[in-house]
């Protein structure tokens, strides 16, 4: 069991870092494209075709991919006013609950967003833009980002559950 947890930890860590890297590059790309587009429009009167639509395809990668990283870093906001008053196993159980709910919620979201993406891919759904752009390119980011988020939540649930059944005070 511990070996499986350690191995999944490694895989998730690798994916987490890769996804944050892609998100950062996507943000840089968006910044450069929008700046160049504005410059071209005002100086040369020749804006990029469909820069708004391309931005809409890039944005999901900036946002969805680092969801799991934010969870790992403890950045997703929660109210800890009551939970932090407890200690020991009660506290661990209260830590376990959000991750369990998160696992179920994100698993459902991942599955449905995957169906949405595959339907869009199958019909090659195009955007209303000056050039041919496909909606599925943006929609693909949601199941990928939320899929990793589901794994991260599941991993944390298992770690917390392990700590509870092994009578530990904190998650290692």
């Amino acid at each position: 069991m511990n070996k499986i947890v350690a191995y999944s930890d490694k895989v998730i860590r690798f994916l987490r870092i890769t996804f944050v890297g892609i998100s950062g590059l996507a943000l840089l790309g968006l910044t450069l494209m929008t700046t160049a587009d504005t410059f071209m429009r005002f100086v040369l009167n020749a804006p990029f075709p469909a820069s708004v639509e391309i931005s809409q395809l890039i944005q999901p990668y900036i946002v969805f991919l680092p969801f799991a990283y934010a969870l790992h870093m403890g950045s997703h906001v929660r109210v800890t006013l009551i939970t932090e008053r407890f200690s020991g196993r009660v506290r661990l159980f209260l830590e376990f609950l959000p991750f369990l709910i998160g696992t179920i919620f994100f698993a459902v979201m991942t599955y449905i967003s995957w169906i949405r993406f595959s339907a869009s891919f199958r019909i090659q759904e195009t955007m209303l833009a000056a050039i041919r752009l496909y909606w599925w390119v943006g929609k693909m980011a949601m199941p990928i980002g939320l899929g990793l988020m589901t794994l991260e939540c599941l991993n944390k649930s298992i770690q917390t559950f392990n700590a509870i059944i092994n009578n530990k005070q904190v998650v290692e």
Partner: protein, 439 residues
């Protein structure tokens, strides 16, 4: 079970989930999904929720948010904050309380390149607070000034919270950004006056006259270091308010400029801070967008249930005056500020309260300014005072959280006074936006 009962049960469940420590975005999403399931059926709720989540997160107007966040992190990674502080300090540092006022001024200026109060508080707690202590300031006051002044940075454009408010309510983001200038300046003036008064009535807080005396020529030279700030100000203010480009384009161009400045000013040592700033941006954006996505599902449920309409009817039937309504709303946000952080508060309350504004004849810009200022005051009040935590996180070892909260107390009272002024003089909030955007 009728729709309104379902929605009330939904709100109770939301409170239970929030207090159990479930992440706010997840709580909003789960309650929104369950409520929509009860109202419309399982399949509609499933697909409707995912569609709402994606559409909200991928909406073009929200692209501004990660751009402004990136700009703030990139700016704080370089020496911009230190340069601003040094320049202002050499001009007014010799006055008793001068370094404190220089810090307030620096936070206001830094606010033009950074839309996050948390970042502003942390950056100046790191750079200005130790300098203040060296010059004889009490530790509580030093860190209190930095934690409080961070909220000025969040009001001065580009304000991330104003962009979020605009996206959630549908109001003009440009108008909202302009509207943040007046309350930001009012708070800046009030805080500076507070420091001067404290220096007079509590001299033990600022023990000796501070500041090194530099010749006028050298002080003028110091101002040259401020040029990057003015470039960004011209791009953002001139661009958005001159109608040259949209807030999203302004965000991208300003981020690009700050990125280039960082590369130039750090001379070959910029890779690490840039990677750090980008990963911080990714983390913060993910945190904000999860709340956005969840709140979109929750808002859909509230609208479908008809609770928003009923709530509006109820409030209107109370025949409250505009000012009484605004006082109650401010109190609500101040209380909520003890439990929730700013974006969560807006996400939960806007769908419920915003529909009331039209029938009550309340100017949405005035309302937005009052709400955003009230929310910001919540950022320096315990137990969720994020700016206080931000300052404490980078504070020197002998500074406790209680010290920072103690130092913030006078600024909290002054902020309440500023809030009352903004409530009773709506023109202060609406004058500038109406002047810049007369249409």
């Amino acid at each position: 079970m009728d729709a309104v009962t379902i929605s009330i049960l939904g709100i109770i469940l939301l409170a239970v989930l929030l207090l159990s420590g479930v992440h706010i975005g997840v709580s909003l999403g789960v309650v929104g999904f369950l409520g929509t399931w009860m109202l419309l059926g399982f399949k509609q709720a499933l697909y409707g929720s995912v569609n709402m989540f994606y559409d909200q997160v991928a909406s073009y107007s929200l692209i501004t948010v990660p751009l402004f966040i990136a700009m703030g992190y990139l700016a704080s990674a370089g020496k911009l904050s230190q340069n601003i502080f040094n320049s202002l300090n050499h001009w007014i540092g010799r006055v008793r309380g001068g370094i404190g006022i220089a810090t307030v001024g620096s936070c206001t200026l830094f606010g033009t390149i950074c839309g996050s109060s948390l970042v502003t508080s942390s950056v100046f707690a790191l750079t200005a607070a130790p300098e203040m202590r060296k010059q004889g300031y009490d530790k509580t006051l030093s860190y209190g000034i930095c934690a409080s002044s961070g909220i000025i940075g969040m009001l001065i454009p580009p304000s991330i919270l104003m962009v979020v408010y605009g996206v959630l309510s549908g109001d003009s983001v440009g108008k909202l950004l302009v509207a943040g200038i007046t309350p930001g300046l009012i708070l800046g003036i009030f805080y500076s006056a507070t420091i001067l008064i404290l220096a007079k009535i509590k001299p033990h807080l600022i023990e000796k006259r501070e500041g090194s005396s530099l010749p006028l020529g050298q002080r003028m030279k110091e101002l040259v270091h401020l040029w990057p700030v003015f470039v960004v100000i011209i791009v953002i203010f001139g661009g958005i308010f001159g109608g040259v480009f949209t807030p999203t384009e302004a965000g991208a161009i300003a981020t690009f400029i700050v990125l280039v400045l960082l590369i130039i000013l750090e001379k070959g040592k910029s890779i690490k801070p840039i990677i750090g700033a980008l990963s911080d941006t990714a983390r913060t954006s993910a945190m904000i967008y999860l709340i956005f996505g969840g709140s979109a599902i929750f808002s859909q449920f509230l609208v479908l249930s008809g609770l928003t309409g009923r709530f509006a009817e109820f409030i209107i039937s109370m025949n409250l005056s505009k000012f009484a309504f605004m006082m109650i709303i401010s109190l609500l946000y101040l209380v909520l500020g003890c439990l929730l952080e700013s974006i969560s508060m807006l996400s939960i309350t806007i769908p419920l309260i915003y529909p009331i504004l039209g029938p009550m004849g309340i100017d949405p810009i005035w309302y937005a300014v009052v709400v955003v200022v009230a929310i910001h005051i919540g950022m320096i009040t315990p137990p969720v005072g994020l700016c206080v935590y931000g300052a404490k996180a980078v504070a020197e070892k002998d500074v406790s959280l209680e010290d920072v909260f103690k130092g913030v107390a006078p600024f909290f009272l002054v902020s309440l006074l500023a809030l009352l002024i903004l409530i009773f003089i709506p023109g202060l909030s609406t004058f500038l936006p109406n002047l810049v955007f007369p249409w």
